[in-house]
Every structure is written in structure tokens, then in C-alpha cells.
């Protein structure tokens, strides 16, 4: 039987509730967003007692469906002031699903200021226990301590950044080797955990009954189609580019297209791109031997396995993982081409509990402000360490790019709704810009990845520099993504699903197989739109409207080399995304 775990941090209670009928066909993002919509007052303070933090594994998570170990975390975002869903791939997602946990809702906050608790869940129930001795630890130490104390368990945790309520604090989960490295990074949900006094969740899934599947035959048929598609597509197949080079294989392609944001979004090409590209990362990992690896999976049962483990020159493990967004944010966006320094910056983010994207965009803004110079790797390392120390400068940086820009009077701040932009330049890739501007999440590339047709020639082809037809494209991608983020599948499965129709069918069949629903592939966009409309409705009640669906002003007037184009998508086009939904 599936159930909802309701944790009240004021009362110190952990209750198991029946799943209401209205939530029965929801999972992942659809469920976290629905619960936030139903239970969180839109105008509440994100760090106050009335916000909640909600965890929900996806619909097929915990089953044998391939690449489906995702968990969503939701709440009102301290970074954007709107609704937020961030998700991660982790065995913790699979464990919760197998235990029958449909969602965990954490509400209230401890009566005594500064108190922190650990939520422990196992087959017999759940309890809160004091976690004061774990507060202030870096997350690598936290992970070691949890393993010593509780043995073979999974965890969700907030780091020193979240304990200090910093808006760029992410929620960290373990990978399959117990590293604190899998992040629901965006939007500051780690700070919401911190504000609830919830240090972490420790999950012992031994004896778990597994996920109930309504129609096992349909599920199996769908699973086979999906596995075939993933094994066939050049991007997702074993030995394909994601598997061989990792996501940072994108560095070179965005650089060639003139859309790799460089030195705080002042250029679309980085002269040091080759030194931090996926090909180079894979080459160095192979050359150094030792503990480095490519083709690492973030959770068991992933076919794609796009992650990696970076080793120091002596072969000892440094950090997992060097992925495109992190390498870009802390590399090209800061003018840093030393890949070992980028690895160290990622390690600091993992240890402190920071979103690597927001951290890199913020460092770029700090460099723009003159705090340190572009390309100053040691300066960046020192500055990022301030977040864990809790110095006044650490507090400023720790609240992200928009806050840092305001503190230092910077006008070139690449953010929408207060959230720093990911690794695609809107002036060189117009459609992804529409997703950044109009997403319910603030600037977010995963919310509607039009990069696929615009840059990668996956799922069709579109001219990245042209704004024509991009509102419709972004809307369809945003809706499909909302569905995928609810299913529990990794968004990367869509590279195969967009090109191979039987794969898309298989995906929907596995979802129907688990739920007993009869959705068709046409329903994907419809169901996705419903999720988006609800999120939009929360945002409007929170005070976010059309005026917030706009690019940062500098992108309207500052031409971006090498194409020297500005962001010329008209406001009316941006308004069409939700206006015509």
C-alpha cells in the first residue's frame, strides 16, 4: 500500500496517511506541485512556518523501468518567490518508492530556534531524532557518519548552506556509492529544509514490499519498447556519446554554435572550451587511470550512465561528477579553463550543499563586480568557501546571482525570476530563452529543452538564431517535460523518445502499467499542461505575472559575439506560451 508521510516539525510527529483519491495518478513533479498548490499559501515566506517541503518519487520509480530513479522536491522557492520543483537521480528515490512512500510532506518548524532533526524511515515507520551533532559538517563527512551509524541506507540532506538558509542551497541525495553528489539543486529548496529544522532523511528500505503494478503485462511490454529505444539511439545507447563522454560533450557543440555563455554572459564562445570539454574530461580520466571513471550511473538500473568520477593527477578520487552545467558554470562562465580547479569548485558545492549552476552564475556576477578577476581559479575557490564559513560575504554570495548583483550594483545579471541562467545563451539560442523567461521555475533549461532541435538536431531541426515558431516549441517541450518529471524517468530518455515513436509509446505504457490508467501519447502534452497551469496559478497568487516572464534587460540591447545578436523575441511571443495554453 502506498502512503503519504506527514512530518510536523513543530509537534515533532511523523504520521502515515492514506493517499487521497485526487493524488492517486500523480507522482514526482505533478504530486509535489499539487501538494504545494493545495497546502502552501502562495504569499507565505519561503523560510517561514507556512511553507512546506515535499518529496515525491516518480510514478515508475522503484520498478524495473530503465533510467527511472528520479525524485522531485517541491516547495515555495526562496530564490524565485514562486513554486519550485527540483529533481535528482538517486537510489534514495527508488528506496522510497519501494517502501510505498508516495510523498513526504514536511511542515511547521521547531519551536526552539536553531534545532535540527533527522527523519528516519524504515519498514516499521518513521521517527524524528535530534541531529545537532551533524550540523555544520561538510556533506562528505556527513555521508561517512551516516554510513558508520546506520549502515546501508540512503539519504536526503541539506548542507551548511541550507542550515544558514542560503537561497542557493540545494537538496543533496546519495549516489549508488554513497557519495553526497546527486542534487535537486535549483531554487534553494535546501534552505527550505534548513528552515524546517530538517537536517536530513535517512532511508532504510530493507524488507520493502516494492512498487505495486496494476497491469504487469502492459508494464513489461512498455518497458521492452523503451529499453530498445534507449539502446538504439546514438545519444543514449551504451557506448553512445552520453555514456562515453558525459554531458560535458555539449561544451564543444555550444561553443561551435556560439551559444556557450562565457565570462558572465558577455560572449558566446570560450577560447578555453577545449580544455574543459567532455572529450578532454574523458581523455584525462582514462590517462590518469586510478579511481576515475566515465559511464557511471547515478542510480542502479540506468541504461544511459552519463555520469563520471574525476580523479586527481595521482589517480585518487576527487569528485563526482563533472557534468555539462557544472563545468560550464564554474568554468567558461568564470573564464576558468583549469579543469582540476573546476573539479575542486564542484567538490566545494557538493560539500557545502550548493547548486552548481547558481554558484557559477553568482561567481560570474561577482567577477563582473570586480571582487575577483575572470579566470582567477584560486580566487573563485576562496570566494565559494565563504558560503560554508558564514561570513557576511558568504551570506551575500550564498543568496545567488540576482542578490549578489544587487549588492554590488551589477547590471549584467543573467537571471529570470531571481534564478541564474543555465549554460545556453538566449541571444544565440532563442527558443531556450523562451523557456528561461516563461518557465514557472525561473530560468531553467530542463523545464523545456528546446536545445534538442535547436542545437542537437534531435527531435527535428530548428534554427537557433531565429525566434519564429519558438513560443509553440517551448510550450510543447515544457508540457512534455512536466509529464516526464512526474513519471520518474530521467529527462535524458526523451532524446531517444523524441526520435523513436515506439519508445514514447513504451514510456506511456509503463506509466499506465503502474497506475492502471489508459493514457495515450497524445495525453502526455495535455497532462503536462495541467501541471504547468497549476504551477502558473500558484505563481500568479504569489505575485508573479507576465512582467516576470522577461529577459534581463541587457540581453535586449547588448549584442553577443560571435553572432552579435540580441534577444529579439517580442514580449507578445513570450506571453503566448501561457496565454495560449
Amino acid at each position: 500500500m502506498a502512503y503519504i508521510v506527514r512530518v510536523n516539525m513543530t509537534e515533532g510527529t511523523v504520521k502515515f496517511e492514506e493517499v487521497p483519491a485526487k493524488y492517486r495518478t500523480l507522482g514526482g513533479r505533478a504530486l509535489t506541485s499539487r501538494i504545494v498548490y493545495d497546502e502552501v499559501p502562495a504569499t507565505c515566506h519561503p523560510l517561514g512556518p507556512n511553507n512546506k517541503v515535499v518529496f515525491a518519487p516518480g510514478i515508475v520509480t522503484g520498478t524495473s523501468a530503465p533510467s527511472s530513479g528520479r525524485i522531485s522536491v517541491g516547495g515555495k522557492s526562496p530564490l524565485t518567490g514562486g513554486i519550485k520543483e527540483a529533481n535528482a537521480g538517486t537510489p534514495a528515490a527508488q528506496s522510497l518508492a519501494k517502501m510505498g512512500v508516495k510523498a513526504i510532506i514536511v511542515e511547521g518548524r521547531p519551536r526552539e530556534k536553531g534545532q535540527f532533526f533527522l527523519l528516519r524511515l524504515n519498514k516499521d515507520g518513521g521517527s524524528l531524532e535530534p541531529a545537532g551533532d551533524l550540523v555544520g559538517l561538510g556533506l562528505y563527512d556527513f555521508a561517512r557518519r551516516v554510513k558508520e551509524r546506520y549502515g546501508d541506507v540512503d539519504f536526503a540532506v541539506t548542507g551548511p548552506a541550507g542550515e544558514r538558509f542560503l537561497s542557493m542551497a540545494g537538496v543533496c541525495f546519495n549516489d549508488k556509492d554513497d557519495r553526497p553528489s546527486r542534487y535537486a539543486g535549483r531554487g534553494g529548496l535546501g534552505a527550505v529544509m534548513g528552515a524546517k529544522g530538517l537536517k536530513g532523511i535517512v532511508i532504510d528500505s530493507s524488507g520493502a514490499p516494492g512498487v505495486q503494478v496494476a497491469d504487469p503485462d502492459l508494464f513489461k511490454a512498455g518497458q521492452r519498447k523503451l529499453v530498445e529505444a534507449l539502446r538504439e539511439h546514438g545519444v543514449t545507447k551504451p557506448g553512445g556519446t552520453l555514456n562515453a563522454y558525459g554531458t560535458a560533450a555539449l561544451i564543444n557543440v555550444l561553443n561551435e554554435a556560439g551559444g556557450l555563455p562565457t565570462r558572465n554572459f558577455s560572449a558566446g564562445r570560450f577560447e578555453g572550451a577545449g580544455k574543459i570539454a567532455g572529450e578532454t574530461i574523458a581523455e584525462i580520466i582514462s590517462r590518469r587511470k586510478g579511481q576515475g571513471a566515465t559511464g557511471h550511473a547515478c542510480h542502479p538500473g540506468c541504461i544511459i550512465q552519463c555520469s563520471n568520477i574525476w580523479a586527481r593527477p595521482d589517480g585518487s578520487e576527487h569528485v563526482s561528477c563533472l557534468e555539462y552545467e557544472s563545468v560550464w558554470a564554474l568554468g567558461a562562465n568564470c573564464g576558468i579553463d583549469d579543469i582540476d580547479a573546476v573539479a575542486e569548485l564542484i567538490w566545494i558545492c557538493n560539500d557545502t550543499g550548493l547548486d552548481t549552476i547558481e554558484a557559477g552564475v553568482t561567481l560570474g556576477v561577482a567577477m563582473e563586480a570586480g571582487l575577483i578577476k575572470f579566470g582567477d581559479a584560486q580566487g573563485a575557490i576562496n570566494l565559494l568557501k565563504e558560503c560554508a564559513k558564514g561570513t557576511p560575504l558568504g551570506y551575500i554570495i550564498g543568496h545567488g546571482a540576482a542578490f549578489t548583483g544587487r549588492a554590488f550594483g551589477v547590471t549584467r545579471v543573467p537571471a529570470v525570476k531571481g534564478q541564474g541562467m543555465p549554460a545556453y545563451e538566449p541571444r544565440a539560442v532563442k527558443g531556450i530563452g523562451i523557456t528561461y523567461m516563461t518557465s514557472t521555475m525561473g530560468a531553467d533549461h530542463t523545464a523545456g529543452y528546446t536545445i534538442a532541435p535547436e542545437i542537437l538536431s534531435v527531435g527535428g531541426k530548428a534554427d537557433p538564431l531565429s525566434p519564429v515558431g519558438k513560443a509553440e516549441m517551448s510550450r510543447d517541450f515544457q508540457a512534455t517535460t512536466a509529464f516526464i518529471d512526474s513519471s520518474g524517468y530521467c529527462l535524458f530518455t526523451t532524446f531517444a523518445l523524441l526520435d523513436i515513436p515506439t519508445g514514447m509509446e513504451g514510456m506511456v505504457e509503463t506509466v499506465n502499467g503502474v497506475l492502471g490508467t489508459a493514457w495515450t501519447t497524445e495525453d502526455v502534452v495535455r497532462v503536462g499542461k495541467d501541471i504547468l497551469k497549476q504551477e502558473r496559478s500558484f505563481n500568479e497568487a504569489a505575485g508573479l505575472g507576465k512582467a516576470h516572464d522577461r529577459p534581463p534587460e541587457f540581453m535586449r540591447y547588448e549584442p553577443l559575439p560571435p553572432h552579435n545578436s540580441v534577444y529579439d523575441v517580442p514580449d507578445e511571443e513570450l506571453d503566448k506560451v501561457f496565454g495560449e495554453m
Partner: protein, 82 residues
């Protein structure tokens, strides 16, 4: 002048077709005027099935594109990420 020079960069799994050999992905080569991108692939002996797309001077082009002097060409197998 019947020839022109172009800069070529072969990325990811295509780097093994670089005439410079080994890990060098970037090289300059001379081709006859009028050479198309598809013909360049033939000269380099890259099996067509391994190529997904190419960017020339920052713009994605099709295989019938006729090469110009000093073109900067980046050729890719299927890649993705996010």
C-alpha cells in the same frame, strides 16, 4: 587559385578520422574550390552514418554547403546532455 584552406575540428567519436592522427582534433586542410561538405567527409573517409551534423562559422549547415576559404568547420556525431 583553384584551392582554398579550411579549418576542421572533428569532435567526440569522429576524432579518430583526423589526418593529424591521435588526439589532435583540429587541423587545416586544402581543398578544391567548389568542394561540398559531403565531399569533405568523403575525403576524410568518415562513414556518413557516424556524422550527425556540422557547424560552419557558428551556423549549422547541410551537406550540400559549398566550402569557402577560411571556413571553420566543426563536425559532430550525435551528442546530447543537459
Amino acid at each position: 587559385m583553384s584551392t582554398l584552406k579550411v579549418d576542421v575540428r572533428l569532435y567526440a567519436t569522429l576524432s579518430k578520422y583526423s589526418p593529424a592522427g591521435g588526439e589532435s582534433r583540429s587541423f587545416t586542410m586544402e581543398v578544391e574550390r567548389g568542394t561540398t561538405l559531403a565531399q569533405l567527409y568523403e575525403i576524410l573517409r568518415i562513414p556518413p552514418g557516424e556524422i550527425k551534423q556540422a557547424f560552419i562559422n557558428g551556423r549549422r549547415v547541410e551537406e550540400d554547403y559549398v566550402l569557402q576559404d577560411k571556413d571553420e568547420i566543426g563536425v559532430f556525431p550525435p551528442v546530447a546532455g543537459g
